[in-house]
């Protein structure tokens, strides 16, 4: 029985006039609607397409089965789940994926937590520089560690230049060179920086007064940790777990490099080989399974955000945590752990990769064996600096990841604008959700979906397979969650008032964007561009199925080199990516005067 019922309904014409004036004076409706349509197409249509191709006959299978292409069929599902080859295509990879994800996640989260505790809360030697050094593995593409591993442990099972140990006359056994053990180790070492960043961030945000209150009540440090700090870290732990699991589920490079030689397949590599061997229907079914994992993660995430909200402490006013003074006896091993992880996860692999590129023969440490040949050319081969393949892929990586990042950044801010300007409307909720959907989606699943959608012309959209546009599009959609997250938080922080103050004083939409919002959001825009740029430079699983000879990126190029046994060139390519990413990180820190941790935020 609200008052609205009592007032007479205004005439249609009046309502139309009001609607029109609203659309004109508040362009966020139009912006929001356009964004919502575009996103719905780019996010939801690929998913629909992949569902479709899982239940429709391909042309080849149709000819074989005497049906017509596009006929409804469940043969692909049967093939994946119940046929004689199901064990190889699906069940074994599923088990492997679970095993690897479980162990790698557990290790990564454990490393991350322990290191975050050490770095933020104790006086280990070099704690401030460690804060940066320990995130270096994050700046390397995901195949870096695997490639470094191969560089050292590769044995005679695979061709090409031998591994360092093999060259020294020690043949590493298969279980050490390939398979689950190295995969788990490499994944844990490449994903722990996330956990480390998020835990450090959370620890720094916890109001120190909460601990001080416990200390004044007589709690010893280990009690403070057990009863106060660790429980407060539960929400962070949950989201770190989710994020890491989601990443390991979709990871491609490490199992491809370290698993394929011994036939140890994960879902992602199985999906890749199905596609390469011309079985798109099977690939679609596998992509759906991976996608379902993604959806499950997303639902869990939403559920957790809702349920753990009460744990989030508001208005931390306390100062910076005073690092615990460890006794010399404890300080030494604690520092050794932190530096040890750095040596194994970052310094060692980089050194190994770099060494391999300046040695003619692996493992021979004679001065005459050192040469810059792999970089500058010589010995009858082109070097990195004059290899057309590498230069082309460098150009592709920079231009594709760069354009995707700029588009992403602008879209992210636009999403933020629409979401903040239209609070409570369904449009704002829809934008928020849809732009977030790709967040926990395994890259392989998404790529398969995109491939299905754009392999053939659909309506006005031409076939995009093999085009740069497709790569840019898929990157934009996948990285949008990061950009729109920073866009939304930046717009929230600025709020509506600066713009409204301009509105009252006669500034139209254009003037408000150029003179008020634009200048206010400069740094946010830089963050929203650089973060996707970094991800794009490192991306592999998303693009590995989409690149074609003209559109190779640095990451896929390094994989090709590995396939042909050119370990040194693969390493050089990865080092180039590392350098570019590090430059981007430094640029971001300079512009935003903040660390990576703030921008990643989950």
């Amino acid at each position: 029985m609200t008052t609205t019922d009592r007032t007479t309904r205004p005439p249609l014409q009046a309502r139309l006039r009001l609607l029109l004036s609203q659309l004109v004076s508040e362009p966020s409706y139009v912006i929001g609607a356009v964004l919502a349509l575009a996103l719905a197409y780019l996010v939801l249509a690929p998913m629909a397409a992949v569902l479709g191709s899982a239940v429709q006959m391909t042309r080849m299978d149709a000819v074989r089965a005497g049906a017509s292409p596009g006929d409804l069929t469940f043969s692909y599902f049967q093939r994946v789940f119940t046929s004689p080859v199901a064990q190889d295509i699906f069940w074994t990879p599923l088990g492997n994926t679970m095993t690897v994800a479980l162990f790698a996640t557990a290790l990564a989260v454990l490393f991350g937590l322990v290191l975050a505790m050490l770095v933020t809360s104790t006086n280990i030697w070099g704690r401030s520089i460690l804060g940066f050094l320990l995130i270096i593995p994050y700046m390397l593409p995901s195949q870096a560690l695997a490639t470094a591993w191969i560089t050292v442990f590769k044995n005679r099972r695979t061709g090409g230049s031998p591994g360092m140990l093999e060259a020294l006359g020690l043949t590493p056994p298969d279980w050490l060179a390939y398979g689950p053990l190295p995969i788990v180790i490499c994944l844990a070492l490449s994903y722990f920086p996330f956990a480390f960043l998020l835990f450090s961030n959370a620890l720094n945000k916890i109001d120190t007064q909460l601990e001080e209150a416990a200390v004044t009540l007589g709690a010893r440090p280990h009690i403070v940790w057990r009863r106060i700090l660790l429980p407060l870290l539960i929400p962070t732990t949950m989201s770190v777990l989710l994020l890491t699991v989601a990443r390991t589920l979709g990871t491609f490079a490490t199992p491809y490099v370290l698993g394929t030689p011994v036939g140890y397949t994960l879902l992602s590599t199985s999906l890749y080989s199905s596609l390469r061997s011309g079985a798109p229907g099977v690939a679609a079914v596998l992509a759906i399974v991976l996608g379902l994992f993604g959806v499950a993660m997303l639902l869990l995430d939403i559920w957790m955000v809702r349920n753990w909200q009460r744990f989030i402490t508001v208005g931390g006013k306390g100062g910076k945590r005073e690092p615990a003074r460890l006794t010399l006896l404890a300080r030494f091993p604690a520092s050794a752990v932190a530096w040890g992880v750095f040596l194994i996860a970052a310094f060692g692999p980089l050194l190994v990769m770099f060494l391999s590129t300046i040695m003619r023969e692996p493992g021979v440490f004679a001065l005459s064996n050192f040469s810059l040949g792999y970089w500058t050319g010589g010995d009858g081969r082109p070097g990195v600096f004059n290899s057309p393949e590498i230069l082309l892929s460098l150009y592709n990586s920079l231009s594709i990841a760069g354009s995707a990042a700029v588009i992403c950044g602008v879209l992210g801010l636009a999403v933020g604008y629409a979401v903040v300007r239209l609070p409570g409307s369904w449009l704002s909720g829809f934008l928020r959700q849809v732009s977030f959907l790709p967040y926990l989606m395994p890259g392989m699943a998404f790529a398969a979906a995109f491939l299905t959608l754009f392999a053939v012309p659909r309506g006005p959209v031409p076939a995009l397979y093999g085009s740069i546009t497709l790569l840019i599009l898929v990157m934009v959609v996948t990285y949008l969650p990061y950009a729109s997250r920073s866009g939304i938080s930046a717009m929230m922080q600025v709020g509506r008032e600066p713009e409204e103050a301009g509105m009252v004083l006669g500034a139209g939409f254009f003037a408000r964007i150029t003179r008020i919002l634009g200048p206010l959001q400069k740094t946010a825009l830089v963050t929203a561009i650089i973060l996707p740029f970094i991800s794009g430079m490192k991306e592999l699983s998303l693009v590995v199925m989409l690149v074609t000879p003209g559109t190779e990126l640095l990451t896929t190029q390094s994989l090709r080199f590995l396939d042909y046994g050119h370990t040194q060139l693969a390493n050089a390519t990865i080092l180039i990516i590392g350098v570019v990413v590090m430059l981007l990180v430094l640029l971001m820190q300079k512009v935003t005067k903040s660390s990576l941790a703030g921008g990643l935020g989950g």
Binding site: T3, R17, S425, V504, L505, L520
Partner: protein, 357 residues
Amino acid sequence: MPNITLNSVVKTYGGKSLAVDNLTTTFPSGEFICLLGPSGCGKTTTLRMIAGLERPDSGEIRFGDEVFYSSQTGTYLRPEKRKLGLMFQSYALWPHMTVEQNVVFGLAMKRMPREDQAKRFTELAKLFHLDGLGQRYPRELSGGQQQRVALARMLAVSPDLLLLDEPLSNLDASLRLEMRAELKRLHQTLGCTVIFVTHDQLEAMTMATSIAVMNKGRIEQMAKPMDIYRHPSSHFVANFVGSPPMNMLTPGEAPGLASEMTKILGTPADRAGTVGIRPEALRLTGQPANGGLKATIDTIQPTGADWIIGLQAEGRQLFALSSEPPPADIGAEVGLNLKADGIHAFDQNGKAVGPSL
């Protein structure tokens, strides 16, 4: 100058939470009107609808003959066409513009020539003591200076109507006193209508020429400050205005006090759902008179000029406000005298009932 008229204005958020509930009122021209009410009662929403930043679901808002908004004819006048000045609680100064750029922004939007803008800034800088601060950025200013920049920015375009949303709540106590005086003076010199939102009843009492007390999206009473204080039209208004608040009792709780109060007031006892007495109308006497009202002193809070005395009477906590020191110490029993002009009675629905009603 024209009046502001609101006619059956309804505003909901998200289709359900009712922020402004069928509001009909007139804010007379030239007045300093305070919208006073507790948090969430719809003050800001009302102000923003007048400014044109928020659209009513239905109803009409007019400024004299000019229709700002009407759901019946489908009229919506954009904020910049309403010739008003708006000041936010956060001031919303643009951090990337200097003080001068902030102040002349509205003039630049009107494409006023640069020399004229500069001239106008000099004028305003003198008026608001901002000389020499033109090239500073807002974060380089004190809270009081930021406040004056916001005022100058609002006034630069010579608006006909000023809307202020809790502009003093971020200031410390002494600065707040100073700014209250300044705003009051400004209103007297400019003579334009001011609508000022606050939840601080002292601010409203001291500044307004007219107070509109809001509750749950409606205006409960609109009157001159002293009339609001002396003749609250409802339980809610009586309780909200005044500090310490009016002592409220139901006849069931404290029959002795309540019947004495209805007797003094001349209201039929059965009509009064609640009776209330202002703290300053509770007079303490040294010795309880025979058969008279009495109470025990509970707490004594000197404020400097006055004493706030906590009392226990018939099991109820009461507060008295007195400019004299209390006649006895904590724990002592004292007599109570009730002053007639501080006593009020309200019916079951919270409406005020007087002797003649």
